[in-house]
Symmetry: C2
């Protein structure tokens, strides 16, 4: 069942099928998409239909409109308390790609592992680097995560040992869902990229720093002049305020450990999508693309005095060298029972749009 | 519709629903799985049901059994010429992982790009390295492939240019489908891995050598002693003969360019699956895992006089340094209109089991 969040309630769009049929001509014979268990079909319908639907929903949710306001029976059916609803993933995610598009984050990580002079890989400035990920592992906010185990290196020239990760981290990310897809072999041009992006969500890319294998990508060292197929006109970044909070097992309240903003991403969502399809790779409605860790702003490079705009503990604690304080508990990486909460919003004089919460807790490793 | 190949025909299992219900107790109330468009549900049912089904089908296909042999009406319904059938992917593939498990292949590629002394990355001998891939890009045998375009490096210290791949290659692989999956956070132990492997297929991993980004993975330099969770008892390799044939646009017949065998893989299918799930990654029925390029046997390292056991043109032509002859046409990499055909079989005194054909042709890049 498709719903949208409004304050502390959700609006069940499947209750509005006949209203939508009557009032949104673009949805003629299509309003049953909101009764489907996922948004994949609605995502595939394209921007004009998303816009017409959004416009009508904004209208009936405004105080001046009587459609919903004065229809008590409909209101009772369609508006449900968020507390009573169980959230699901919005789409059946066919494929998942995670980009690495924040220059500050890439510079920090590169400096830690390769030194200041080789911080950015040569090809980083020429294309948005992306890694394919497992769509099976994407879970809805609030899902507990078992601490991962794997091969861990005790030190240089020593054999690996098997055990639970001791350097478990979060990564502050956002992700976009693909709207209409493209055929295998037919790239998406930059001028049309925005029509293929359905919307963005908060994402926490849980990360075992001592188990995962860092991937290095090669290319020529050059100034950053994007090639023509990646050149875009007009503004393409989004000003979305992001906050990371952390809570230990023994405390009741969360402590803010990072503030960032989606606008700091070096490579835009459009460029990520275009680069992803340029070799003919087919995207499908509901596919998900993560931005990579978002560490933003000039203070975000190499730690610096103000560490708040850093989107991972790897950077905040500079790979465990310094500690942060969570209500009296000292942390380098994530311990069992710790909870990470991501929030985000954008605002201007007229609007405040929230992205809800993305929350998860770490459980001990599986024995 | 589910079917199995038998000679130049296919047997439609959905025509045998009532026979299967009556004769395979394990399939009670389940035989409708063969009317589904994919094998995902059958894959999820587990090894005892696969084995009971296979056993019964082998029985009714034997010359001594009258069930099918003497029932002309059923034979006409259930047995269909392969030429009249249109093949589909056997499963809805949720996720796709491609391993890098052939030691000869990894040594050849490493020697080409990093020199003989650093041919194998330090962690290669400790774990089966795998890369996540796009399940959307997996197509059925016979699908034409548009030549990919992307950023190409004209040389060291030169800026990248945009264009169609000039170094298009095939990769001889096999791949296994996952049977029953596992829950997020609960690894599959090596003793149970075989129960989670449904079966293997031929796979051609089309590869643009000048566009793709080589991934490097790090780990300690040590002798190859697998950690306990990867230790297996008994034989775990499969003796499957593999052959690669190539045809140019102007010729009618294919020319054999490589012979290899799945038994040469350093890391077994079981070890690949176990390592994939050891950090808690959940596998789903129908997920696909590729072996990586299969270059086998002692002659397969560093080219050598006999280049036939090499599973890619990258190795056969040593990154374009030598040419091969395809019916009078010289080739380093794949040209537009070229066709690659993979075949495979295993045999002993009693059986000859074929893996069919995996065929594809390259079309010019998209303008």
């Amino acid at each position: 069942m498709t719903s949208i969040a409004i304050g502390d309630q959700i609006l069940d769009l499947s209750s509005l099928t006949s209203l939508l049929e009557e009032n949104v001509p673009e949805l003629k014979n299509l309003s049953n998409v909101f009764s489907e268990p996922t948004l994949n079909k609605f995502m595939s319908l394209g921007r004009p239909i998303w816009q017409a639907t959004r416009q009508y929903l904004q209208q009936i949710l405004s105080e001046n409109d009587s459609t919903l306001r004065d229809n008590i029976e409909l209101k009772q059916r369609a508006l449900i308390s968020q507390k009573l609803a169980r959230m699901h993933l919005p789409a059946n995610i066919g494929d998942f790609t995670d980009f690495y598009a924040s220059k500050e984050h890439a510079t920090n990580v590169g400096t830690m592992f390769r030194g200041k002079d080789n911080a950015l890989m040569p090809n980083w400035s020429h294309l948005p680097v992306g890694y394919h990920g497992r769509s099976s592992s994407i879970v809805v906010s609030g899902t507990d995560i078992v601490r991962p185990s794997g091969q861990i290196s005790p030190g240089k020239d020593q054999p690996p040992i098997f055990g639970a990760s001791k350097k478990l981290d979060f990564e502050l990310e956002m992700a976009f869902f693909v709207g209409p897809g493209n055929n295998l072999g037919e790239p998406i041009p930059i001028e049309k990229a925005i029509d293929h992006i359905f919307g963005v969500v908060l994402m926490n890319d849980w990360s075992a720093r001592d188990i995962q294998e860092p991937f290095l990508v090669e290319g020529p060292k050059q100034d950053p002049t994007p090639l023509k197929y990646l050149q875009d006109t007009g503004p393409s970044a989004y000003d979305i305020h992001l906050e990371v909070k952390m809570k230990s097992n023994h405390c009741k309240s969360h402590v803010t450990i990072a503030n960032s903003n989606l606008k700091y991403m070096y490579w835009s969502l459009k460029q990520q999508l275009v680069h992803h399809s340029v070799n003919g790779c087919n995207m499908r409605s509901g596919d998900l693309c993560g931005t990579g860790t978002i560490s933003g702003g000039p203070d975000a490079i190499n730690g610096g005095p103000n560490k708040s705009p850093l989107g991972s503990l790897l950077e905040i604690t500079w790979n465990g060298k310094t500690k942060i304080d969570i209500n009296g508990n000292k942390r380098t990486f994530i311990e069992d029972g710790d909870e990470i909460l991501l929030t985000g919003y954008c605002t201007n004089e007229n609007y405040l749009i929230g992205f809800g919460e993305c929350i998860g807790k770490i459980l001990p490793t599986y024995k």
